[in-house]
């Protein structure tokens, strides 16, 4: 792992979907077994360029997600490396049983990509706003459950998924993300990334909340609080070592996720702590509610996911230290 944090964390001009498509094209160039599957959302996901260049390696199943997961599993049984995409709610809750049996239980090699995680579903609203996708996938044995933070991490992650046999679920923002890592940064699967060190509290964040957590850490610094920030991009297998080290060295944890705290990152971190080193935790995330329509900044405030709430949670959890 070799990380370089962006000098200034601002919105990347490039969209995640463009990077997604270009990395897949790069992989397909040298590997005829890379297959892109979609359920009639290639236009939305920006994979038309892939389809145009590699029509023989593209399968648009139509609006039939269950069949798509099964087809992907079958393709993999003959040695293909399928990446199956649809919106995150349909890539998880709609096809939970297909992912369980055809992909995971049968030990096939299927890469599942669910787009528009949590509040980034924005104008598609509550029906399309998954706060449960990672939790559903986390409950299936042997799955790797991933949330890339920005384009730099996404590019690394796609290559890692292609090279690693097994079922991985990746939730993916389609449009723009805050750029957190400079190009050339490298990561390690299952290892949390430390963005900054601290001694009073550790903020364990993922996806949308990483940039918010980083911002919260600097706000806390101004208030005289030293916060460590960990980016837990891999929810499963989770980096127990980093969590326990944080508990030992800072004695208080805040989790921050664009997801229901039930079954989410908050739950995953708490599971590690209660089994090994009980530590006060505050959970920033969706508090068991459905989503709704709105722009991302509205929803971030509505579900209390932004830096100001992380700061409050940090202060609260520090006060709870024994």
């Amino acid at each position: 792992m070799s990380i370089k944090i962006a000098k200034e964390i601002v919105m990347d001009k490039e969209e995640m979907r463009n990077a997604f498509c270009s990395v897949l094209m790069e992989l397909a160039e040298n590997n005829k077994d890379i297959i892109v599957l979609d359920a009639d959302l290639m236009g939305a996901m920006g994979t038309r360029a892939f389809q145009k260049k590699y029509p023989e390696q593209t399968v648009n199943c139509g609006i039939q997600e269950a069949n798509m997961i099964g087809v992907a599993a079958g393709l993999s049984a003959v040695g293909k490396i399928p990446f199956a995409h649809t919106f995150a709610p349909f890539a998880t809750r709609r096809v939970c049983d297909q992912v369980f049996m055809s992909a995971a239980y049968a030990r096939n090699n299927v890469k599942i990509v669910g787009s528009d995680p949590g509040i980034t579903a924005s104008l598609n609203g509550g029906t399309h706003m998954p706060f449960e996708d990672m939790g559903i996938m986390r409950g299936l044995p042997e799955l790797t459950v991933l949330e890339p933070t920005d384009i730099t991490m996404l590019k690394w992650m796609i290559k890692e998924m292609a090279a690693t046999y097994g079922v991985q679920y990746m939730r993916l923002v389609r449009k723009n993300c805050m750029k957190v890592y400079e190009e050339g940064s490298t990561f390690e699967m299952g290892k949390a990334v430390q963005l900054c060190d601290g001694t009073d509290v550790t903020i364990i964040a993922s996806g949308y909340c990483v940039a918010e957590a980083y911002k919260a850490a600097s706000l806390l610094k101004e208030a005289g609080v030293s916060a460590r920030v960990l980016n837990m991009f891999c929810w499963k297998p989770i980096d127990q070592e980093a969590i326990l080290k944080a508990a030992e060295e800072t004695g208080a944890i805040v989790t921050a996720e664009n997801h229901n705290v039930i079954n989410g990152l908050g739950s995953a971190v708490a599971e590690v702590l209660v089994k090994n080193r009980p530590t006060p935790v505050e959970m920033i995330g969706v508090q068991d509610e459905f989503g709704e329509v709105g722009p991302v900044d509205y929803l971030s405030e509505r579900f209390k996911l932004n830096a100001s709430y992380i700061v409050e949670a940090a202060k609260k959890v520090i006060a709870r230290k024994a």
Binding site: Q57, C61, N67, G70, V71, G74, L75, V78
Partner: protein, 283 residues
């Protein structure tokens, strides 16, 4: 055209599959009897005549694939595989015992010769489509055979697959629906009436045929016709009887999953051995 001897051999093979199926279920005392017995004749044609496979190398890349989407019919498939030496016959008595290679539903990781894990109904249809598609992509001419149940086709996923496969023109896929007309809770026509199965698949862009699912000659001919056309995926509707070959359970609603006592086993073997003798004598 099958020779007279071949026909006799296939009929005997089918009867052996039935006998071993009943014995293995009886050895545990309970199991999925009805839907296992109803596909014995199709299995006999597949493993006795049509399919390319190597029991010593079950994952041979040149093989034809068989996906039993009605995964609970595992016992019949296991019988066929054991009779064709994929594993020792003695394994059959381990059905559903702790640590067995022969679980209730087909598992590609546990049983030599099982090509795909099935059990959650409908899902074998899509995995079979994916397997067929991968072979097409690789320009390989292997055949992919898929066995569906008529109760199973209540599942919407089967019709997603039908639409997809018809559109993709996966001519290397030959699917069957075992129309034994009974599902767990009763007659299929009362629970979820699918109507004319062959017609429906034809409407989905398939080449569909309907045959007597207990006539090995008819099944074989249908497969030959399916192979001879190069435009569409193939559906062969097998008109069958649930728990075929055992009068005590045949066409009975409770035959889907049932207990089998020692006395009942004796009854089954008496009837099936007599049938075997008739086949051998050419009656």
């Amino acid at each position: 055209m099958l020779s007279e001897n071949k026909v006799k051999e296939l009929k005997k093979f089918s009867k052996q599959i039935q006998i071993e199926t009943v014995k293995m279920i009886a050895s545990l005392g309970v199991g999925h009897l009805g839907g296992s017995l109803s596909i014995a004749d199709a299995l006999a044609v597949l493993y006795g005549e049509q399919m390319k496979y190597d029991p010593k190398n079950p994952k041979w890349a040149g093989r034809d694939w068989f996906i039993c989407s009605k995964g609970h019919a595992g016992p019949a498939v296991y019988s066929a595989l054991a009779l064709k030496q994929f594993f020792p016959m003695s394994e059959l008595k381990t059905l559903n015992r702790p640590g067995t290679k022969l679980p209730s539903h087909c598992d590609r990781l546990k049983t030599p010769g099982i090509d795909m894990t099935t059990g959650s109904l409908g899902q074998g249809s899509s995995t079979a489509a994916g397997i067929a598609l991968a072979h097409k992509m690789n320009h390989m001419d292997n055949r992919i055979y898929l066995m569906l149940g008529d109760g199973e086709i209540d599942e919407g996923q089967v019709w997603e697959m039908a639409l997809f496969t018809g559109t993709q023109k996966l001519t290397n896929l030959i699917a069957f629906v075992d129309c034994n007309k009974l599902q767990l809770d009763g007659p299929t026509c009362e629970i979820c009436d699918v109507g004319n199965v062959a017609q429906k698949f034809e409407d989905f862009g398939w080449y569909a045929q309907s045959v007597d699912g207990h006539d090995v000659v008819a099944i074989n001919e249908a497969i030959e016709k399916a192979k001879a056309q190069h435009e569409k995926p193939s559906m062969i509707v097998l008109n069958t009887e649930k728990a075929h070959g055992w009068t005590m359970f045949a066409n009975k609603i409770g035959s889907h999953s049932t207990t089998i006592s020692a006395d009942q086993l004796e009854d089954a073997l008496r009837e099936m051995n007599a049938a075997m003798k008739s086949i051998e004598e050419g009656k």
